[in-house]
Symmetry: C2
């Protein structure tokens, strides 16, 4: 028996380029028979540890920020993805990351991830709000009350902190990132390269 | 009479991703009938003004730096470009930028740009050295003695400083960048998108 080709997809629900990658990845991976392992995490601690900043790099350097918004608009047109520039950036993605972690390896996980990203970047909703997150859990077929309560437990918080530690150990410095058998690919522009690598290195 | 499609290619001879873009661009642009306007400039002043750093961002954040070297190795394999990780990074690209500016709009310009990039990233030569630059001028069919002397003139220095001012006015924050009728594309990953834009917006 051989292991199926798979890719670890590391993302932050507040990250604009993670949104593009999260929506593009599932159909492309499925078409190649590559399994997606969703890895929600928080960029904030990485940015603080590596760059000493407490905000998005796109806010810290507004010239780069202006470009990013224009680039996102063009990318979403290119890939025919819905897009609405969020009225607040970055959103606090802590709660979204926690419930996504709690849904790990359930059949509902891909749909939940997609819905949370669309809430943030197609509908300009505040993904830090329990109402918004609860509604998306419901839509994805998961029990909102139960998961929102679990999200507040110390073990869930620890689980998300452990993701940051894993991300650092893998050499991550931004999102989205793809990891295939220890090989790191950064940025949604590397999505196809990561899938190529997964297919080539399988078996 | 209609203007031919063209792309302004902004690059720094010390920039690794500029190397990849500089070698990939000419055949792709030629195949689409898009004219390349070479725009050598220095990233240093931009990085200092926008990020307050005096070194390459890849050195300032070594985690990102480690990734970049691996990514470059993979990219050059993918595009079948020669690659040798430079023993010093970044190189001082001041002299190279000045002689490239002096060769602007000569038939030898594309060959000179290519040779200077290959010196830095395929042969690990010091492009700050007048001997190295003089040899590449000669190879490109340009008079080394004359151009090296001109490179030291105040008007040449001013011309390169003016490039930085133009780069800032265009919203640049890194290299390589492509500008098509005011539309900015950042990174060698956007090369094809920039050429698409040039073709679509011509006439």
């Amino acid at each position: 028996v051989t292991a199926p080709a798979s890719v670890d997809f590391w993302f932050d629900f507040a990250s604009t380029y993670s949104y593009v990658a999260a929506l593009r990845l599932p159909p492309l991976a499925a078409a190649r028979g590559v399994q997606v392992r969703w890895q929600p995490f928080l960029l904030g601690p990485l940015f603080t540890a590596q760059q000493g900043i407490k905000d998005s790099p796109f806010n810290v350097n507004p010239v780069r920020g202006r470009y990013m918004w224009r680039d996102l608009e063009r990318l979403c047109r290119k890939y025919q993805l819905p897009w609405r520039q969020p009225s607040q950036f970055p959103r606090n993605s802590l709660l979204a990351a926690r419930v996504a972690l709690l849904s790990a390896r359930t059949p509902e996980e891909p749909q939940l991830v997609r819905r949370l990203f669309e809430a943030g970047f197609a509908e300009d909703l505040d993904i830090a709000s329990p109402e918004v997150v609860g509604r998306e859990l419901q839509t994805a077929g998961l029990p909102p009350g139960k998961l929102l309560a679990q999200a507040a437990l110390p073990e869930t918080k620890d689980q998300l902190r452990a993701q940051t530690v894993r991300a650092e150990a893998l050499g991550l410095f931004g999102a989205p990132s793809f990891v295939v058998r220890g090989e790191l690919f950064f940025g949604q522009d590397r999505l196809e390269d990561a899938l190529d690598w997964a297919q080539a290195s399988a078996n």
